[in-house]
């Protein structure tokens, strides 16, 4: 259960049994062609996969450098890559005979994805969400409820994602016998980081096939934003042994030299968060600190342990992008390509733009457009109302 120095299972004893049961069931499932077939069947006939690979011709021309391609996870059912993983874990829960799932959520995207698969697979669903996030994301809360999920307000801590995750883990500890905990990113104790990656690698697998079809060679560089890091692991993983350079982009918030950012690898240190040894943002006493990003999906003080390993082993380069750079990148994509990306994804775009300009037109770039910006409209209105 390790990625180099990172990963592991740093959890209360009570969870060791359930994690072992999960690992065994997962290994069986991943070796069962019928399970894999059903997973891919649901992705194709329900979620809308494969998602498109779009050549951003106007954007590429405008920047005047590398050819830019977008992997369109925004076209996935419910509007982001999150569903891939929720489908996989939902099917696994069913296979394990668990009728109830729990999930944590920040902005609500993973909560919506979990509530969606719960509805589709006939499972009971409880979503833990910080009370502050519930206030900020009223629409997603309503959406989850409409899907039949129960949204549980978490008032401990600052009432955000970190606290919701703590509370979900606590609830799981107390109810692990009949509950499946559906974690939304490549974080948490083993085998979650590996499992979520394996349910998200479909992004990279598809991208590789599609890219070879249109360009006949692999992209020179691949960009993806990193909060917990599931969309990035999903697209990077199948390319790890290839020549493509992989770049993960963290949220620099108001700047990595301010206290308000979520650049875990850039500024954090190794430690344990949510059951896993990884990098995290903490004070000198090992108390976890509150991260900040305009993008709720990147506003997380930890990062998946496999990213920590890829950072340490230098297999992936990690950069960071500020709120402002991300918003500008979002606007440019919208104007040039008619695609409003999630603010999360816009972090990957911003870094890619910087590098694309310096590259030659016979080089290629692949960006994981992890989700659509519909959920971010309130934020965007606040920032752009005067400009547009």
């Amino acid at each position: 259960g390790r990625f180099g120095d990172f990963g592991g299972k740093y959890v209360p004893e009570t969870l060791m049994g359930p994690l072992q049961e999960l690992e065994e069931s997962l290994d069986q499932a991943m070796n069962d062609q019928a399970f894999l077939d059903e997973y891919h069947h649901v992705l194709k006939e329900y979620a809308g996969r494969p998602t498109s690979l779009s050549y951003a011709d106007k954007l590429s021309d405008y920047l005047g450098g590398a050819k830019i391609y977008l992997k369109r996870e925004d076209l996935n059912h419910t509007g982001a890559h999150k569903l891939n993983n929720a489908v996989g874990q939902g099917l696994l829960a069913k296979r394990m005979g668990k009728k109830k799932i729990i999930a944590e959520t920040g902005a609500g995207q993973h909560g919506v994805a979990s509530a969606t698969v719960a509805a589709k697979f006939g499972l009971e669903c409880k979503v833990f969400m910080g009370e502050e996030d519930i206030r900020r994301q009223e629409l997603n809360v309503f959406r989850m409820k409409l899907l039949g999920a129960e949204v549980i307000s978490v008032s401990s801590g600052n009432g955000t994602l970190k606290d919701a995750t703590n509370e979900a883990i606590r609830y799981w500890v107390a109810n692990c016998e009949d509950h499946f905990y559906l974690i939304g990113s490549v974080v948490g104790p083993h085998p979650y980081p590996r499992m979520v990656r394996d349910f998200q690698r479909v992004i990279g697998d598809e991208s590789k096939k599609q890219f070879l079809e249109v360009e006949d060679e692999l992209p020179d560089r691949i960009f993806a934003c990193v909060g917990g890091g599931s969309n990035a692991m999903g697209i990077f993983y199948p390319f790890l042994e290839d020549s493509s350079e992989l770049i993960g982009i963290e949220a620099a918030g108001k700047g990595i030299d301010t206290p308000e950012h979520a650049a875990t690898l850039t500024k954090g240190t190794p430690g344990v968060i949510h059951g896993s040894m990884t990098y995290l943002m903490q004070d000198k006493n090992g108390q976890i600190t509150e991260p900040y990003s305009i993008s709720a999906g990147l506003d997380y003080p930890g990062i998946g342990p496999e990213h920590a390993h890829l950072f340490q082993s230098k297999q992936v380069r990690y950069e960071s992008i500020t709120d402002k750079e991300a918003l500008d990148a979002l606007k440019l994509l919208t104007e040039k390509e008619g695609i409003i990306p999630a603010i999360e994804s816009a972090h990957a775009l911003a870094q890619a733009y910087k590098e694309a300009k310096e590259m030659s037109p016979d080089e290629t770039i692949l960006i994981n457009l992890s989700g659509r910006g519909d959920k971010d409209m309130a934020t965007l209105m606040e920032h752009f109302q005067e400009e547009v």
Partner: protein, 266 residues
Amino acid sequence: MLTQTAFQGKLTKTKDLFIPFVVAGDPTPELTVQFALQLQKAGADILELGVPYSDPLADGPTIQRAAQRALKKDMSLTKAIELVPKLREAGLEIPVVIFTYYNPVVQLGYDRFFEMLEENGAEGVLIPDLPYEESEDIRQLADEKDVEFISLVAPNSEERIKRIAEHAKGFIYCVSTLGVTGERNDMSAETLSFIKKVKEHSNVPVAVGFGISSNEHVQLVREHADGVIIGSKIIRLIESELEALENGREAEALERFYKEIHELVK
């Protein structure tokens, strides 16, 4: 047959142990010392001294609140360990187990951690989010430093119960009910059969925690286990004195606390 008691020779009983839990710095470091003394007076055999943590995922709301109070007083792992000599000065004689989440230990570093435990005279350590499989190195270090590394075991630990119990040091902490810390009002037959199973494999006293909140619970646990661990209930009793403490009625509050504890474990 119990062969180990240890705690640097300070624990001589192997039965009827009363192991209370307090959060260092709740509501202030000074008062933690005072509450600890009341607990000793009421018969405590080992003190679990909790280190407040920002993300205590094995704790219920009561202990989370206590941690928040303590964090506001700037409590930390190092300061909690440094509270031990102050406890001794004030008259605490029973062994002290530092109860801390793993991350602060990682940040401090194993070497400095054990150095501090030694310097400050803490006899044990318990890390609720460091299960058996992840703790080999630290258990070995603890042995070398003569510090008791307390292991937890849960009803769903299944075939791991044997392994954990056989390697347990100091005492073994049985999670009586699945779940995070907190108070519950009944004990199940399954819990009792679980305790029995742990005892079969353990060389150290078997203590039961998680959910013990009444004298009836205590009596029931005593019948079947070697010790009783009480956390949330004690925090709640401290919590109920906060107003009195804030209003300068400290002696009265401590006296009332002592009586409540006495009733609980009589």
